[in-house]
Amino acid sequence: MALEEEQKPKGGVARSRLIVRLGAFLVSHNVFVSVVCCIAGIIALLLLPVLAKNTYISENALMPGSANPAFSAQDVMEANRFVKDLIDRRTIEGTGIEIPRLIGQHMAGVGAEVYYHKFWPHKNQFHPLHFFSCAPNTVTMQSNSSCASVGVNSIGIIRAPRGDGKEAIVLVTPYNPWKIELSEALSLGLAFSIFSLLGQVSWLAKDIVWLAADSQFGEYTSVSAWLKDYHSPVFFSESGKMNVDMCYEYNSHQDWDRITVNWANANAFKRAGTMAAALVLKVLEKKERQERDSLTIYAEASNGQMPNLDLINIVHYLAVHRQGLRVKIATIGSLLNSVWLRSIGEIVQRLCRFAKSLDPRWKYDITSADYVEGSATLASSMYYQAIGVPTGSHGAFRDYQVDAVTLELSPWFSLKNENSQSAFLLRGGRLIEGVIRSVNNLLEKFHQSFFLYFLTAPNKFVSVGVYMIAFALLIAPLPIVAVAPFSGKNKIRLSTDKGNQRPGNTCTDEIEITIGSWKWLHAAKVVFMIHLWAVIVLLLPYFISQIPYISPTTSMLVWVAVAISALLIVYLILGSPYSSDCEWALLKSIMIAAAFIGLGLMSIINFSTAQIGALIVVPMCLMVRPLKRHKEVALCTRVMLMACNLVLAVMGSPPAALLILKGLSEGFGRVGIGDFWVWAEFLWIWNSATYLYLFLVHLPCWALYVHILLHP
């Protein structure tokens, strides 16, 4: 009987489930697995430009370019007339009122419904609990803003002859009414000519809304204010709105009266149904000469969200194949000339050729130059997504689930040249008309194509299924290393069981193990306290920013001082931070688990942040080891490990990393301590999840890393 009982558990271990045995196998080779996975992850990341696929239009209803453009030289002349009008008004006093009025008049002239939307500039303010809410946190500036600081958007709506008024396409042209430039006037002219053309066509099934956005307080502010009012009806009980009206009546009584007399309800907010898509039009004169007119597409919205790929696809298709424009997206210029990237490109090119010689079906032929350009574009795409701040006013639309892109047209010749200007306007007009016609064909919301992707060229993309592999490989070692200490104990138990079969010993052993299996709770307490500290550090800027008249440097110093004292208090509460019941191996495994959960979550919220963060956090998690425990390994490895650890400890701390990066790019003379504060402020006013990541995942991980390094 007794013998049978003895054998039972051992048999159970031998016949344990396959998945558990596989897991145990991986865990027992965790060093090898983690090195292989990390290297594979970095290689996969570098190979992303090679794995990029050509874009294709997946929504059939779009049918881009199926109709001939109706935009003609006559429309161009109309645009030119409008531009001339605008330029003439430039010299008159009080253009701030005059130009919106002029735009409104022209809108009404083509038979559109017109109204003016007045808004206060909003001051972005940090609020700890409003992350992930739709619109950025805005607090109306009530005090000290004079009546002059009111923006006026002019909006025209063309009702579609074939539509039911439930859907709309939005055109946005940002301009500054107080200081209108030729390029802004051109973009307004272009939009106007398209608008007047669309007022006559019979195929329109969605209403067209043209928003001439007053960008004196920034392009984003005006568009987001308009969108906010569009989506949330405001009733007259709200005092802020009334203030604007009263203020306006007081300030420019006569001007305003004239408009209101002309159109009885020029101030009533009108709507046109849900927005199918939005295009932000801009004209920009480039310094450098180029052989063709070019179009730059900006698509990144807040927190790394992208518009549906189909929208970019139709713009690209029409621009390249119909209008012969040169389509660009943002790249990081310094990477284009970097030597190491070019050498990687050479290697990749050779590898691709080799792969092709093995099997001609593998179509991975990429030249070194293409690779370098693709990587630079990918890096810029990743950078803007990771920052989590929109690259233009199209970002405001994404907060309401509307797909939007900014199209920045730039002519190849000087804008002052009338001939080239006309040709440029003709191309631009035909492009926009084509895009609007395509979107007009749409039967439902954009949903067919990707939302989660990176662009490596205007016509190449890396989809979520590909780039997730690189990330998954990079963080795969984390759970394996995290469970290693737990399986180690199991191994000890097995060996003791085999070693002495005496029943008395197994009894005490088992009791020890039963306590041991919950031993990680002590380490979890330390990790929890560090995370609590990180939350306090995260919320501190909210209180520091309440102090009036404080310079960034002082704020930063106060922030650091309070954070360090909070950490000391946490240590006081914990008692001795290095108490005997808290082993560093367990601490490490819990720290890794926390980092894994954090990175996994962040990869869903904002992939780029998680990917860039993982490149720092994963080595930190895997390498960490108390400095005093290095004695048992050989000297050279010990020195190397120590050097790696120290470099990581410095580079891992967020302020130091930012200052060093900034110093490298701009020279160390211009770097101050306050820079980090400015940067953090920039992140939180845009509600960037990167700020949360930095303080809830990265900072505690770094603090625990240093904690373990200093472990006795």
């Binding site: 009987m1 007794a2 009982e5 039972k8 558990p9 609990l129 992930f132 739709c134 969200q305 689930q401 939302f451 989660l452 995290a482 469970v483 737990f486 029943p503 009894c507 005490t508 088992e510 009791i511 193990i513 039963t514 306590i515 299996s517 919950w518 990680w520 979890a524 495994s589 688990a593 894994f596 959960i597 996994g600 979550l601 869903i604 919220i605």
Partner: protein, 446 residues
């Protein structure tokens, strides 16, 4: 025995923390989270039902409210603040504590009888009651449920009340808890098996076979010893299944249910009778009418399934819970409290509108078995899994509903992960418990 330092301090801190969180209802807005408030427990829906009733309409008109009519009368005036639920949570914690003390007492008695008290000293025992009540009070899921203005704390209180009543052999109390819990959320009806076992056998103890073995060996070796004869008597007492309290319980249960039905019919007088109540409450639970997303797995399935298979799968999914009752009851009949925990965990995994309040309950009860489950495998994995899933779920919901870049599958994936975690928890805890019993047997036989 490891004592928990300043227990009451921790309890007070938990209550203070809840009251602090209640001060920010707008900022947290937990009542609108699908993980926290289900169609059955949402306090906003209750407010709607209350309003309808005040306007002398049936509270079930408009298909918003699906709770008991009694809750309307009790909670209706207090829908603005969730301060009441803080008290409810505190009472639940105290009941768990009392249950834990009863369990500890029984455990010590039986281990002493089996001459295994050295085991107790060696393994660094924790006070199960205090530990479990603190786990319950400080569990973030409990706090979220309490602050998130749902009626789930009351359901939990009733289930715990039933278990406590059965543990301390108070048949009327147990019957009251069971009847009200069943009335409120139907699924606690399956607790009748552990409750009867508790009343019949008394609280958790090692398997009966061990006592018999011990009795045999004791009578064989030294029948003259005084202490042994005494303990043999207690052993015989344990052996015995007493029918009296069980019959009491059944009697009281029928009395209470009649009482509840009468009260309900009085409160619904002229507003659509009891039949409508059953259709809109228990019928609503069983037929999975509301397919709005929650952390369970049924909403997705029934949104996908063809209409003509719907009835078949309704039967399958509802029977699924019942299928597991009998085997578990047979295997764990000597540990009825643990059986109740397993039942609650299973029902929270398979119920039609689960919320985090259900896991708050069974995780709190899990603390009662801290000593027996000390050797549990994958504890770290489960801990991380619960944290990961509870953070992932809101993010996926945001991605699907607010950003529009995700879809229903994203959110459903977290539902599946959550169900898997619960499965692992149940499997591991049951197997650890069985292993513990096996270890006891090994110590007795050697």
């Amino acid at each position: 025995m490891t004592r928990i330092r300043c227990y009451w301090g921790w309890v007070a801190a938990a209550i203070a923390f809840r009251i602090l969180l209640i001060c920010f209802p707008k900022n947290l807005n937990l009542g609108s989270r699908p993980e926290v408030a289900t169609p059955l427990t949402s306090l906003r829906r209750l407010a709607e039902g209350y309003w309808l009733k005040q306007a002398s309409m049936s509270p079930y008109a408009g298909s918003m409210y699906h709770g008991s009519p009694l809750l309307l009368s009790i909670l209706g005036p207090f829908t603005i603040t969730s301060l009441m639920f803080v008290i409810v949570d505190f009472v639940t914690a105290m009941l768990i504590r009392a249950t834990g003390q009863k369990l500890m007492l029984k455990c010590h008695q039986s281990l002493q009888f089996l001459n295994l008290s050295k085991l107790v000293e060696a393994s660094g025992n924790v006070e199960a009651g205090n530990f479990a009540s603190l786990v319950f009070l400080w569990n973030p899921l409990t706090i979220v449920t309490c602050v998130g203005s749902t009626t789930a704390p009351i359901d939990n209180l009733m289930a715990v009340l039933a278990i406590y009543g059965a543990c301390s052999c108070l048949a009327p109390l147990a019957a009251f808890g069971w009847v009200i819990a069943t009335h409120l959320s139907l699924y606690p009806a399956i607790l009748i098996v552990p409750l009867i076992l508790l009343l019949g056998h008394g609280p958790d103890a090692p398997p009966l076979k061990l006592f018999q073995q011990k009795n045999n060996s004791a009578s064989g070796s030294s029948p003259s010893s005084h202490s042994h004869t005494k303990s043999t008597q207690t052993g015989i007492q344990i052996d015995y299944f007493s029918w009296r309290p069980v019959l009491h319980f059944l009697l009281w249960a029928s009395i209470w249910s009649c009482y509840v039905l009468v009260l309900s019919s009085i409160s619904l007088k002229g507003l659509g009778g009891l039949l409508e109540m059953f259709k809109k409450t228990h019928g609503f639970i069983l037929t999975v009418v509301d397919l709005s997303p929650n952390i369970g797995v049924l909403w997705y399935f029934f949104a996908e399934v063809f209409d003509f298979f719907r009835n078949f799968f309704l039967i399958v999914f509802n029977m699924n819970i019942l299928f597991m009752l009998l085997p578990l009851a047979i295997r764990l009949k000597h540990r009825p409290c643990f059986l109740a925990f397993v039942y609650l965990a299973i029902s929270s995994m398979l119920k039609s509108y689960p919320s985090v309040g259900d896991s708050a309950l069974y995780l709190g009860l899990l603390g009662l078995f801290a000593n027996e489950l000390a050797g549990m495998q994958f504890s770290f994995f489960l801990f991380c899994g619960y944290i990961g899933v509870s953070l992932l779920s809101p993010v996926m919901h945001n991605l699907w509903i607010w950003r529009g870049t995700g879809n229903a599958n994203f959110y459903f994936a977290t539902g599946i992960a959550y169900a898997c975690l619960q499965t692992v928890l149940i499997v591991e805890s049951v197997s650890t418990m069985l292993k513990y019993d096996r270890m006891l047997r090994k110590h007795i036989t050697t």
